[in-house]
Symmetry: C2
Subunit: 337 residues, 2 copies
């Protein structure tokens, strides 16, 4: 088994996006449901702000789906913080059966994959998935105290502040977005030990998953209107193009990376955006808009995760990467169901 | 949706248990497949030892199932370490599509729940689940540097060193163990802020899940031969008995807690064992033996997790708890399928 064609395609019946202040100054600002004025969002700590951001994204998604929290069977979420406290403390408020994931920045699509596969069970009808990241909570957990103001090399990426939430249902009305195929990623490690080169560390995992996803689906490459990776940044994006070309799939014209889309060049984010929220904000914001307006009908999203911890890095370990993929189709009343 | 009766019961066709040296001196020693002579297992760090332990448990489980790694569709795992590095670094070696979970000490059963629900998909045939914990990696991550030698109160628990792995298949031969019902837990928080009182923090979540699991299955309480919670310890166990009694379910005669079973009273582990490996070792070791010998035919396992992080505790947050449950049935050739 590698790529699963879902027996029952899963409808994305609602979504919510909350973006941080820097993301709100970027080129995709108009696509986000809510933009924060500052990183603390009125809370006492960045960690509590991140919890509020995820909670707000879920509230917006539920409203968008016109559904109450009591109609949700399962809440599936994960984030970057140790013991995924953003997700668990949000689950505490929701009081919905909860499954916690950890897939680093691949969590947005890991949630879609797990949610879609679980929704095939007869008794499960509706699932909410969510993920988040916060520049300041990540900086101080993974790198240095923020007060330190350390310099970073140009290969470094900037963790996106924000959250994206989705309401998934077995049955959705047309027109609408449907998850049709899922591919679970394998863990790859090309020996990169520098935590400021995560794009390069994750690229081989993205290529393996993307290649398997296309090869084992019923569609040829030409059937897709767009392919997006999660947060490889400018450097990782180039590697993906080159490696896919070597495998006989020229994706250049339809491929982009969310990490290179979310900020403008003027925003000084080095190699681009990263973090769980990066692909969630770009896909649920910009891409869904493109689907609704008919620009994109069939999209592959490959969210990518760097599976390092400060402890593994300090102990001299290299950085493994993972990537999960789904195909999302916009289905209208005319033609195919 | 609360409790799912699996359309296709999931067979547990192989299991592997590796226990630490202290666990190997406890009353369940004879039931473990492998016992370590020391906590480092020949590695340079405890973290690397934990990775080796999980890997060994998986190898034993695959051998027990007479199955090669190439026949596994998905590897599902989680552990207590930041960014679940034990699981991801093990996945790096396995090269099997990987889904990372975080459910603290509830991960053993979270893996069974997610694995069982995903196995209902037609294209997915075989899943390996694993979880681990290590006393020394947990001590230094969650509490104090181990060199510090701090004293702990009698309500504290002792993190189990070990790992349990299982091979799950849609079709299994008889006689054998089958997962038949799953219940996903909600996050509960009764305001306990002391990280040395985790049993009490997790007990209400265990009670909610256990009560829903029994109430929404087709069996009355009398149909079960045993009920086990994961790692509540002596104090949490008493709370569960009392709260279940108040809800009209007297479980005392068939109920025990893995945290109170894995060590003897002489072993000075305060309120009992804890950690992801606690319920995995007790269930895959002792309980499976009881099933094979006909002592137990229908068992509920409720693994419990305390969803704290050092950051949330330092920021004054209380400790939410979660618990997931499955029913495991021993099915023989005679009588029911």
């Amino acid at each position: 088994m590698t790529t699963v064609k879902l027996a029952q395609p899963v409808a994305i019946v609602g979504s919510g996006t909350v973006a941080g202040p820097n993301e709100g100054k970027g080129p995709l600002a108009e696509y986000f449901d809510q933009i924060l004025e500052d990183n603390l969002a009125g809370q006492k700590s960045w960690e509590k702000a991140e919890q509020l951001i995820m909670q707000s994204a879920i509230e917006i998604a539920l409203k968008d789906a016109k559904i109450g929290a009591d109609q949700i069977d399962i809440f599936i979420a994960g984030d970057l913080l140790n013991q995924i406290i953003t997700s668990t403390f949000t689950a505490r408020k929701l009081k919905i059966p909860f499954l916690g994931l950890y897939g680093a920045c691949s969590t947005f699509i890991e949630g879609y994959v797990v949610g879609s596969l679980i929704l095939q069970n007869q008794q499960i009808h509706c699932i909410v998935t969510a993920t988040s990241s916060h520049n300041s909570t990540s900086e101080r957990q993974f790198r240095f105290p923020t007060e330190y103001g350390g310099q970073v090399p140009v290969t470094a990426q900037y963790t996106v502040t924000g959250s994206g939430a989705s309401v998934l249902k077995k049955k959705g009305e047309l027109p609408g977005a449907f998850i049709t195929h899922t591919t679970i990623g394998k863990v790859f490690d090309y020996g990169i030990k520098n935590p400021f080169e995560m794009g390069a560390a994750m690229a081989p995992a993205a290529v393996d998953t993307l290649y398997r996803h296309i090869k084992h689906s019923e569609y040829p490459l030409e059937a897709y209107d767009a392919i997006l990776t999660g947060d490889l940044g400018h450097i990782g994006k180039k590697i993906v193009c080159q490696l896919m070309q070597e495998k006989g799939m020229a994706i250049d014209t339809i491929y982009d990376d969310c990490g290179t889309m979310i900020f403008s060049e003027k925003q000084k984010v080095f190699s681009g955006g990263s973090g769980c929220a990066c692909s969630a904000l770009v896909v649920l914001g910009r891409m869904f808009d493109d689907m609704r307006s008919g620009l994109i009908k069939r999209l592959i999203v490959v969210s990518t995760g760097a599976l390092l911890s400060p402890t593994s890095t300090q102990q001299g370990d290299s950085i493994p990467g993972i990537a999960h993929a789904v195909t999302i189709e916009w289905r209208s009343n005319e033609g195919r169901k």
